[in-house]
Point group: C2
Chain length 223, copies 2
DNA sequence: CTCGTTTTGTTCTCCTGTTCACAAACTCCT
DNA sequence: AGGAGTTTGTGAACAGGAGAACAAAACGAG
């Protein structure tokens, strides 16, 4: 009753998947503090959600808690890491070594969470002379070889917007099936390829909208 | 029937607010290409959503289209920009001038979309000697003065996780009411302060989960 | 061994967001 | 001027996620 657990959760809601990494981080923090056991209430507070939601989320993974006691921090941490898939290392390539590419290459949070940057690529020959974060920048044309060599399935796009679609196409052609895109604009990819977009200016614009509402709310209650 | 339009949209759903900047960017692209008019179908394609959702989203702002014709690109662009609040300039401070802070300070997408970086702050005196993106890095202690001087209401946190909560507290104390946080972990802020979080490693972990599913899906269909 | 206490796992209800489908409104052609 | 053809705006059904509330299960005291 251990090998290939059949109840290993068929379809976890997308909203839950997005929160699992948050729980994982909270558990790591708790573990570092020496906490061996925690209740759903404690963990929920540490993760910034409410406890009912936390318990429901965890219930999609299985029954890893003990009623009347709580959750074993190390055990739950392992189970979530396994569910997400970060017990193994994921090789990652970063394309576009400008300011943002530099920052990403140097970001320690990747390495510490199961992601290993195996290559930095840039189309500009000038940049290919550089060494960033101990990795030398190579030509974008090496993409195919690197993907095959390291078994890369995740790519990060940190190029200007104009180059992003072309880079994505070549990534897909090389065999990459998950893309994290920092370039603004819409990426078109074939079925089966996952894209997640991070757009810094969109985040600020959302804040600006709410900020504007706060300002006008003060103006209009004079009626 | 023009001044202070009373139908100026009371409560726009959060999901819609998050998409308005995407529409805005798509409209700017269309305008640059010389397109004067577009249908909801065209704009939806350019923005990467379906047309029904687009029309419903726009309907929360008002009736800015013409049936049988479509939308005037420039007019709609202005209306959305006004609704978001990016027709005016928003002063922004960035705290934490490490790798990521550098990248953010140099990011041209902020300036071009109505955000002006008025100060770069860092607690480390060594960094305060630097000049980044034409702005000299100043002491974090100058925060209060700068916020008052420039009327800053939006702050960006690009510090290590351990400093983030303290920075947030001081931002709030200085009068900042919207925070964009790049540091991992949960930020606690008072009622009325908006926080948006961007966590790079969480995005990768979500991709890893789906990647893992793809891999095991191939393994298990042998039953 | 039994009872009370604690905390999980789950069910039910509510609410937000998405999609469909169509009437209203506009243009163009005859 | 009238009718055919488009395209918007929106009402209504549908799906998915959030939160409250409670039953089931474990522990510990006596």
């Amino acid at each position: 009753m251990s090998a290939r657990t059949p109840e290993s959760a068929r379809d976890i809601p997308e909203a839950t998947v997005a929160r699992l990494p948050v729980y994982l981080r909270a558990l790591i923090t708790l573990a570092d503090e020496g906490t061996a056991t925690c209740s759903s209430e404690e963990l929920a507070t540490a993760a910034g959600v409410n406890s009912a939601k936390l318990r429901k989320d965890l219930s999609y993974l299985g029954s890893y808690g003990t009623r009347g006691v709580g959750y074993d921090v190390e055990y739950l941490r392992y189970q979530i890491a396994r569910e997400i898939g970060v017990t193994q290392d994921w090789p990652v390539v970063i394309v576009g070594i400008g300011n943002l590419g530099h920052a990403l290459a140097n970001y320690s949070g990747f390495r510490s969470r199961g992601f290993r940057v195996v290559a930095l690529l840039d189309a500009d020959p000038v940049r290919q002379a550089e060494v960033v974060a101990g990795i030398d920048v190579r030509s974008f044309d090496d993409l195919d070889r690197i993907v095959v060599e390291h078994g890369v399935s995740i790519g990060v796009i940190a190029t200007p917007a104009v180059a992003a679609q072309d880079v994505a196409d070549r990534m897909v052609a090389a065999g990459i099936t998950s893309i994290l895109n920092f370039a603004p604009g819409v990426l078109t990819v074939p079925e089966g390829v996952d894209v997640r977009k991070v757009d810094l200016s969109i985040e600020l614009q959302i804040l600006a909208y709410h900020e504007q509402r706060k300002a006008t709310a003060g103006t209009e209650d004079a009626s």
